[in-house]
């Protein structure tokens, strides 16, 4: 028996001017065919981005270099006689991620602008939200690799017991990165044709993702407290999950109308 989707989903999609999104939500075969096609498209875009990156290592190298440089500068400035100010490690970790992530977002979409390949992607019969998810997954992979380098580096330079709390630090980093990258991917795509995109991206992105960064920093600080305050870290993790749900949902809804000229 065919599943009937809620009428409000269709109405909201039409109201946003997003026929693809509306169709995506009201399709009776939503759970089967559409999900498979959606994932296939997203993975196809991800695989293409990985193939390009493997040929140049351009974005990965610049992002890692920038993130490490950022942590080193703060370490030279703040660590005196092997002692860092309290909570500095958490703040530096998230600041480095924020700045390196902004750099990666801009560069990733610069590739789609050069040669106007974004128009070819949008013209394809694939689901446009799936294109967004593909680009988002690429950014997440990139930031994941950056975090794998940053966490041990910050732990070493700031004598912070980050690696001792991986059971909670990992979810905090994953959720914080998803929240930041979800909004960042949307804005970077939206600003692709703007001449002032390099200036506008942080101006738009930082105020909206501030709650994510605050939750990430406070959650990480709670883990680094002596003794570790796990209930507080859990609370900030729950807040991050809520942000992720809101940001990812809104981004999926708005991607198609925002990309139309």
């Amino acid at each position: 028996m065919k599943r009937r989707a809620p009428a409000c989903a269709h109405a909201i999609g039409v109201w946003w001017g997003a026929p693809d999104a509306a169709r995506y939500l009201v399709s009776s075969d939503f759970r089967r065919d559409h999900t498979t096609m959606f994932l296939k498209t997203a993975l196809l875009v991800l695989r293409k981005d990985v193939a390009i990156e493997i040929r140049s290592y351009e974005i990965l190298a610049t992002t890692l270099f920038f993130a490490v440089g950022c942590v080193l500068v703060f370490a030279f400035a703040l660590v005196k006689e092997g002692q860092a100010p309290p909570d500095a490690a958490a703040a530096i970790l998230w600041i480095a991620l924020l700045f390196a992530g902004t750099l990666a977002l801009g560069r990733t979409f610069e590739r789609e602008r050069y040669g106007e390949t974004i128009r070819a992607l949008l013209l394809a019969p694939a689901s446009r939200p799936a294109l967004y998810v593909g680009k988002l997954l690429g950014i997440l992979c990139l930031l994941g690799l950056t975090e794998m380098l940053l966490v041990p580096l910050v732990a070493l330079l700031f004598s912070a017991p980050l690696l001792g709390h991986l059971n909670l630090l990992l979810p905090l980093l994953v959720c914080g990165t998803i929240g930041f990258a979800a909004v960042g991917t949307l804005f970077a795509a939206m600003l692709m044709r703007a001449r002032t995109r390099d200036v506008m991206l942080p101006i738009l992105l930082y105020p909206i993702t501030i709650p994510v960064i605050i939750a990430g920093v406070r959650g990480t600080s709670a883990l680094l407290a002596s003794p570790p305050d796990e209930p507080t870290a859990m609370m900030w993790l729950a807040i991050l999950v809520s942000f992720d749900v809101v940001f990812v949902t809104l981004s999926l809804w708005t991607f198609e109308p925002l990309m139309m000229e």
């Binding site: 169709r23 193939a51 070819a120 013209l123 019969p125």
Partner: protein
């Protein structure tokens, strides 16, 4: 979905206060090769963007057969092929990787069609070289094959002859005639009147976002262009 005509009725498009298209009414039919001619800034690329469903018309209506673009969605886009001035290719990827990616994005099995497309683009021996190492003409041929991979009904080409040598121009012209013969609707925006003369079956002349003339192609395209566009 499929269609055998595209009808534009009073289509306008404004970018802020600038009017890129002003009340364009035009019908394209299966088998047509329509030459879209006009000086720089005439609105040719915007019109192609509107036909490709990538640019939304501020006013007016575009119908593909019986359907409007906003009602059709992905199934309509499956029937449209676009080659713009920028060739929609990833320079870091090889020719084969580019074609395979776009074929997969259209839900096609890439294996048989990619090899055939590389043969037609005369790039079989360079299939595994990155596109950034190609000349403009080679990229142009590859871009054309990318746009035609999925056998579109509506073929939109913006300056398709840029960078091509005489032999390649002849092959592209022959390919376009073949597409039109198979029932495609082909629209070619170009500044090259000599190439358009003899290729196109209809001519749409534009200036300042307005359609000045839509007529059957006849000999002496250059003088007709001068009399309509130059004197308007």
């Amino acid at each position: 979905m499929d269609f055998d005509s595209v009808r534009l009725t009073d289509v306008s498009r404004h970018f802020g206060r600038r009017r890129a298209l002003s009340k364009i009414s035009l019908t394209l039919r299966s088998g047509d090769i329509v030459g879209l001619l006009g000086p720089n800034g005439a609105g040719k690329s915007t019109l192609i963007g509107v036909l490709a469903t990538l640019v939304t018309a501020t006013a007016g209506e575009v119908r593909y057969g019986q359907q409007q673009a906003r009602d059709a969605g992905p199934e309509l886009r499956r029937r449209i092929g676009l080659l713009a001035h920028e060739l929609h290719l990833y320079g870091e990827l090889t020719a084969r990787q580019n074609l395979t990616f776009f074929a997969s994005l259209y839900g096609l099995d890439p294996r048989p069609i990619v090899d055939a497309a590389l043969e037609r683009a005369m790039l079989a021996d360079r299939a595994d070289d990155p596109v950034s190492s190609f000349s403009r003409g080679m990229r142009q041929r590859l871009g054309l094959e990318r746009a035609l991979l999925h056998r579109p009904r509506l073929v939109l080409l913006d300056e398709p002859f840029t960078g091509l040598d005489d032999r390649s121009v002849g092959m592209v012209c022959e390919r376009l005639r073949q597409l039109a013969g198979d029932g495609a609707i082909v629209m070619v925006a170009t500044h090259d009147l000599d190439l358009a003369d003899g290729l196109v079956t209809r001519v749409a002349l534009m200036r300042d976002g307005r359609l000045l003339s839509d007529e059957a192609a006849s000999a002496g395209l250059r003088s007709r262009y001068r009399s309509v566009v130059g004197s308007a």
